[in-house]
């Protein structure tokens, strides 16, 4: 029994060390809000408090941020934060709209873009589990009848750490990551002017590694593929040292005139969280 206890301790320690290493690699300090991959909605006052003794530019901007955006969700910064924020944010907005048909349409949209995986020539044994993870989640959300329960199911799926691992949510995020990469590869003309040295190949091989973060090119691709047609807009709030008293806001317009909802992502250099506007906030 002593051995078992010892091994367990070793495992825990190594897992902790691993997480510490991931955080170090993410190049940022992740406050221990609640240890989740996607946190509950938290007051943006917490962000302001983070900078209480920090840079004055951040103090001013975070103070103003909380006036217009009351809440945020802390997204785990493990290299997947941008993908995690976008994917969670998209489904959350669709659920909040309260129309089951929007979820069904999103499932159809995913199944259409899954053709990218088939056409990539990569053996289906590699990606079928990722496709299945997305289908399983959307089926669950569709079959769940109440908004609150759907949100709970979404929250659980994205925080799934089955078997000491977050494999389920990793499958979801890897699905999104490869859809983005293959979408860019199939549409080089649309993206080549925005990637380093105009090299789609180099950009995508990097995007397909486990440590590549989402950037504006991949966010744009995700939007073009999955949210624009759904009438969902993306807005990014840039919190950095640039001139001004407020975060810099940038919107990706949807393809349809009618905007049904907005995914608001809070960007700090190297990291994405989700933010939620106050009802009376200017849009």
């Amino acid at each position: 029994m002593e051995d078992t206890g010892h091994n367990h301790m070793d495992k825990t320690t190594s897992r902790d060390e691993e997480l510490a290493e991931q955080r170090r690699l993410a190049g940022e300090y992740v406050p221990a809000y609640d240890g989740l991959l996607v946190s509950q909605k938290l007051s943006t006052e917490l962000i302001h408090e983070e900078y209480a003794t920090g840079d004055i530019a951040y103090q001013v901007k975070t103070s103003n941020l909380s006036k217009d955006f009351g809440f945020f969700r802390k997204i785990r910064g493990d290299g997947n934060c941008g993908f995690r924020a976008f994917y969670f944010g998209l489904l959350e907005v669709l659920i909040e709209l309260g129309d089951e048909n929007l979820l069904k349409a999103q499932k159809t949209r995913f199944n259409e873009v899954n053709g990218l995986l088939v056409r990539s020539g990569v053996d289906s044994i590699i990606w079928e589990d990722w496709v299945e993870a997305t289908n399983r989640l959307l089926n669950l959300l569709i079959s769940t009848k109440h908004k609150e329960e759907r949100l709970e199911a979404l929250f659980t799926a994205f925080n799934n750490e089955d078997d000491m691992s977050d494999e389920h949510s990793r499958e979801l995020l890897t699905h999104l990551r490869f859809l983005i990469s293959y979408h860019i590869k199939e549409n080089p003309e649309q993206y080549k002017h925005f990637v380093p040295d105009g090299s789609i190949d180099a950009y995508c091989s990097s995007l397909e590694t486990v440590s590549a973060e989402m950037d504006e090119v991949s966010l744009t691709a995700a939007h073009n593929m999955l949210s624009s047609a759904a009438g969902i807009n993306i807005e990014v709030l840039y919190l950095d040292r640039s001139i001004g008293n407020s975060v810099t806001r940038h919107k990706w317009e949807p393809e349809k005139e009618k905007v049904r909802g907005v995914i608001t992502m809070l960007f700090r250099p190297g990291h994405y969280d989700l933010a939620y506007p106050r009802e009376n906030a200017p849009s």
Binding site: D123, I125, S165, E167
Partner: protein
């Protein structure tokens, strides 16, 4: 969800077993998350003919984390520790992608043996030798391949001694051929010594060759022979501008 990992591993293993072109093998005991893989040393390298065994552990987070691999077979290579078999290869760390497989990782290792990268070494001593004494590197790598990986012993000076040495020999051979061609062109196919006998008298070599042509000297396939005096006189006369 851990069953997905097991399912994928079983498929990957089946895929390797059904491929008899790449000569990649994997085997395992009860635990399919701990395997032994093997591949052949690439042709044209000091590792040719050797069989390299790799210890493979599939981490809990596979395929979102790379398989953990190390050489069981001792190998003399700058990107592999000569002591522990630890490997320095970006594919197995930061450049790992979940679309890669155990098989593609083994193929990457095989390819690493053909493309040593001494500027990003795992083993500094080996890297230093490759950079400073490539012939010795090839010799030691081949010796280790023979001793640990079962490669046939290389007969130095006859068969290939390794990538570096072989390429140097190719280069030497090539320049010898070039020299030969150049010489033949310069001496017009005549024997060097026979031409040089006249050159040493103070005539330009090209003019001597032209004179040989004019008089119609037998080149004898480039071999030396005793030239008849009459011919020698004709050549001299030609060279001196006499009619």
């Amino acid at each position: 969800m851990a069953s997905n990992r097991a399912r994928r591993m079983r498929k990957e293993i089946a895929d390797i077993h059904s491929d008899d072109v790449s000569k990649i093998t994997v085997s395992h005991g009860d635990d399919i998350m701990h395997l032994k893989g093997s591949f052949q040393g690439p042709p044209g390298t000091p590792y040719e003919g050797g069989t390299y065994v790799i210890d493979i552990s599939i981490p809990q987070e596979y395929p979102f984390r790379p398989p953990i691999m190390k050489f069981d077979t001792k190998v003399w290579h700058p990107n592999v520790s000569s002591q522990t078999g630890a490997i320095c290869l970006d594919t197995l760390s930061s450049a790992w992608s979940p679309v890669l497989t155990v098989k593609s990782a083994l193929l990457s290792l095989q390819s690493l043996l053909s493309t040593p990268e001494p500027n990003d070494p795992q083993d500094a001593e080996v890297a230093k030798m490759l950079k400073e004494r490539p012939k010795e590197f090839d010799r030691v790598a081949a010796e280790w391949a023979n001793k640990y990986a079962g490669a046939p012993r290389k007969d130095r000076g006859e068969s290939s001694g390794g990538a570096t040495e072989e390429s140097m020999r190719r280069k030497a051979r090539k320049s010898k051929e070039e020299e030969e061609a150049e010489r033949v062109a310069q001496y017009g196919g005549y024997n060097e010594r026979m031409i040089d006998d006249f050159v040493s008298m103070g005539f330009d070599r090209d003019r001597v060759v032209a004179a040989f042509d004019f008089v119609g000297i037998d080149n004898n396939g480039g071999e030396w022979y005793e030239m008849e005096e009459a011919y020698m006189g004709d050549i001299t006369a030609r060279l001196l501008g006499e009619p």
